[in-house]
Symmetry: C2
Subunit: 585 residues, 2 copies
């Protein structure tokens, strides 16, 4: 039985609640509370309304909702006491066919989890792509999540319940994703090609990288685009307009990855617009401007320790001296490009003419926990934070751990510890400000020697340069004070100081309008990570649409996660944005 959003909007309150009774396990109070918000303009709006009831409920009500759920492969399943929906979902994940070892493991995990948190473990067994986890994947997620703390798990169970409800609503309304499934599937295809086994690493101009480029080019062609792979490896597809003298609206992101990275970082921003163009092409629908999708060949800097190679070539700022840089095996970038069949003398000609460009809009997974924390599928970026990075070396005296009284020490490690805590404290003082000590080491440290040297990195970012620079100034001043008090010498090596790239308000407004039309509240947020849009911002106006990142917002990690439904919402918003796009006056 399927129903429609329109039917739900006009049903009686009782019928509305009855129709949605299977969406949240044994919890009719949720549709009851959401009912008064009808009519819902979109399915996304209905989903958000139901989620909003849950997230604004008292913790006791939230706990009751969680407790209304059955254990995975638990007694209720065996006794046949599950709701129809739960029963089908558990069966689909193969949980009804556990081996004795798997069953025992799940049983133990269920017991330990319940003891630790006081509520049952909940996971949407259909997973982010709606295709379902394997039993072993579920056991692995369970084993990981049981290590979390209660607050996190309470929130995570509620998020999993939202995901379950979302999938059940899709079924109820017979809602098929136009773009989301394809974006997920294409991401899986690309993720299978890696420089390493059992990890996704796609570094510049490796075999996996070239194969990925060829696949992107193929998909672009299938979508009706004119495609070239340029001299630095950017895969460029143009969906041409019929309008005379049309200018170009650009989108895209990078297809290289970090070492052992995620499947969506960068790639979502290529695959999503390809899916949209394919749709337009199949409908024979043209746009009043050329639409260009660029799969940037390199952004992460893994192989040659130099970032933004692809986008810098597009903006005409590729530094040709980099061609002589070597990778870890002593291969120069020039050699790597030539071996891949590229003509490095053609690099300068890649540069675009800014006069031809209407703007650049990048879709990207958030890579952070903000949208997840707000229960929103998308957000609009206000600014891409500029990063200021230092390598710091502290020098004290490496003296004997046993014989040097605490008052007579010059401990470089303790000085670093004090600096790290100050960075943490100072960077908590402004919302968009972040500060990280990612590298930290006492070189050749011994258990029984007071650290004579300690080296660490600092990465400070904010949505605007003034906020960041004020923090950096305070931090440098504090380093000076801490080192003076502790009689420690320090040296600072500033390795990066990139200016923040603010997004263009006219583009943000059009993205916001499309988001609102999709029934999604508009959240603006800064991007703490660098993106290709940062380079493009040097020659044109830019904007970015962020898609929610699952698993606590983790990225640059195999656990990076995105749902097909969030990809769908993002794609619908970008499509709507394109259809309604107005060039800057």
């Amino acid at each position: 039985m399927t129903t429609t959003l329109d039917y739900l909007n006009h049903a009686s309150a009782d019928e509305f609640v009855a129709l949605l009774s299977g969406i949240y396990e044994h919890s009719p109070w949720i549709p009851q509370s959401a009912e008064a918000q009808r009519p819902f303009a979109t399915l996304a709006a209905l989903k958000l309304a139901l989620q909003g009831v849950v997230s604004s409920a008292a913790e006791s009500a939230q706990l009751a909702l969680i407790l209304a759920h059955p254990e995975l492969a638990g007694k209720a399943a065996i006794a046949g006491e599950l709701t129809k929906e739960s029963s089908e979902e558990q069966a689909q994940a193969g949980l009804s066919h556990c081996s004795p070892e798997e069953f025992n493991r799940l049983h133990q995990l269920n017991a330990d989890y319940k003891t630790k948190f006081g509520f049952p473990f909940i996971v949407a067994v259909k997973g982010p792509d709606g295709l379902g986890y394997t039993r072993s994947a579920i056991i692995s997620i369970f084993s990981r999540r049981i290590k979390n703390q209660r607050d996190y798990e309470l929130a995570e169970c509620l998020r999993q319940i939202s995901r379950i409800a979302e999938l059940r609503l899709n079924d109820l309304l017979g809602h098929c994703l136009q773009f989301g499934n394809r974006i997920m599937a294409c991401s899986e295809t690309l993720a299978a090609w890696s420089d390493e086994e059992n990890a996704l690493t796609c570094a510049y101009m490796t075999a996996a990288h070239q194969k990925t480029a060829a696949q992107l080019a193929l998909w672009m062609r299938e979508a009706g685009m004119q495609v070239t792979i340029d001299a630095v490896g950017n895969v460029v597809g143009r969906y041409l307009s019929d309008v005379a003298n049309a200018k170009t609206l650009m989108t895209g992101s990078h297809y290289d990855t970090v070492c052992n990275g995620g499947k969506y970082d960068g790639r979502e921003g290529i695959l999503l617009p390809i899916a949209i163009v394919k749709h337009l092409h199949e409908r024979g629908e043209k746009l009043p401007f050329h639409f260009e999708i660029i799969g940037f060949a390199e952004e992460e800097g893994v192989r040659f320790k130099s970032t933004f190679l692809g986008s810098n070539a597009i903006i005409g700022q590729f530094d040709l001296a980099l061609l002589d840089k070597c990778d870890a095996d002593g291969v120069t970038m020039r050699e790597a490009l030539t071996a891949a069949g590229h003509d490095v003398t053609a690099i300068p000609a890649i540069a675009r003419n800014p006069a031809d460009i209407l703007g650049f809009v990048e879709v990207h997974i958030e890579q952070g926990p903000v949208l997840l924390g707000r229960d929103l599928p998308v957000g609009i970026v206000t600014s891409i934070a500029g990063s200021c990075r230092y390598l710091v070396e502290l020098t004290g005296v490496a003296s004997h751990a046993g014989t040097t009284p605490m008052t007579m020490r010059k401990d470089a490690g303790a000085a670093a510890a004090e600096i790290i805590l100050y960075i943490e404290e100072r960077c908590a003082q402004s919302p968009s400000l972040v500060g990280t000590v990612g590298q930290l080491q006492v070189p050749n440290g011994s258990v029984n020697v007071i650290p004579g040297v300690c080296k660490f990195s600092m990465d400070i970012r904010a949505a605007d340069d003034a906020t960041r620079d004020a923090a950096v100034a305070d931090i440098l001043q504090r380093i000076q004070a801490i080192c003076q008090r502790r009689n420690i010498e320090f040296s600072l090596n500033k390795v990066i100081a990139a200016a923040a790239a603010p997004c263009a308000s006219w583009l943000m407004q059009q993205l916001a309008a499309a988001t609102a039309r999709a029934g999604v509240p508009v959240l603006e947020l800064p991007s703490g990570a660098g993106h290709d849009a940062m380079a493009l911002a040097k020659i044109c106006d830019v904007a970015m649409l962020f898609t929610r990142c699952g698993n606590g917002g983790i990225s640059h990690n195999p656990l990076e996660s995105m749902t097909a439904d969030d990809a769908e919402v993002s794609a619908q918003i970008l499509l709507d944005f394109l259809r309604n796009f107005k060039a800057k006056e």
Copy 2:
């Protein structure tokens, strides 16, 4: 012109002051103040009385004393305005023959130092061994010390003035060191044999180590001892008594070193008693007990990560399973010993019979700054601190440095920083307590990734186990609390928990009596470092005599320093102790 201590003790006050007028540069107030303390029982007592006047003077008087000293190779030297003593000393260091570059460098250092501190740089150019620094050594010391802070340099200049005064008093009284120069020279000989160029590293059973053992055996034989090198490499010399059924008083220390270590750590405790036995042997003087000096083959644990190999064999607690341990090159300890010609099956037979032993008395450089701070050449150890060591691993989440707001992080590095500062704070709460985080690392840290893992070591020590255990308990509790608050997992691996080894009061009393007879105030202090005496304490009563450590007390470092005069005082005290030794009733 030489005079005698007796003459000084009985001269008129004016003559006393006049005779000592050259000892402190342009500062007759110092002998004037010390004069009333006559008679002085020993030269050491006279030196300490003069130093006491300086150290108890007001800072203004101390500054005046420092300012009364000429610059090194400065204008006064060029103009011939130095005191006779200064002039000779500067000439001896070759400062009158500086190259233009050296002169310019010294001139610049003089100017910078004076600007920074407001007083001239002072160094006893004759150095710790009385043989004098080279020009390049002086420039190197100058370059290092100019980086210190004012308080430290004020104290260091006064210490250098004390050293200058000591050397001038030796000259004035025609005082020749019986033991000190030989101990310093033998230390230099051994320091030339190293596993590494330009650093002193003497690891277990390397070529340098075996050469060192052979040299020690040779010196012991020359001193009239019966010598063997046992199956673990201990060099054992016995100075036999004529008394029937005599028992054995033992002394000794280790001849291996840490990586890039100091010349005196361990070795002083072998070379000093050899010098004494040589003296006894040359005089035909016998002792009423056998006197055994052991050069322990291994104490530091550098090569096989296992400490006290030599002393554990002596007490019959050598763990034979260690023979299968590998060094960094995959060589087992068994292979290393066999290659050096040792028979590992003979190791158990090394064990001594406790009934034969009168006690064990170890002389060792302090390796810390306490005696230096008290202006005392020697001190008597109350207890050897037991070390409690842990390896700690913190696990957070390695998420994106740019996109994870400060409030949503699980930063293993920041958690470690908080723990490090707590260890520092907690261990400052008891005088003999020390706590050190010597190893600290974020493995594979990246500038732009929040640390997901941080590993560090903890080493906590105190003179008594109760003090240490209370601190450890507090620290472990705080680790738990910090990790819980920050949502970090932690694992603790306790690698060492050695009980403190208290020294025997009857031995301490006899050492104290000998110290007092040498004219030196008795200072008791705990040993924060582990020593071979700690192992010996498991089978007999032990005591330790500490010799002052220069350069701020630094050890396990090439800057480790000891003066010939302090070695002399230590040797005279040990000799006097031996001559007056009474076995425990």
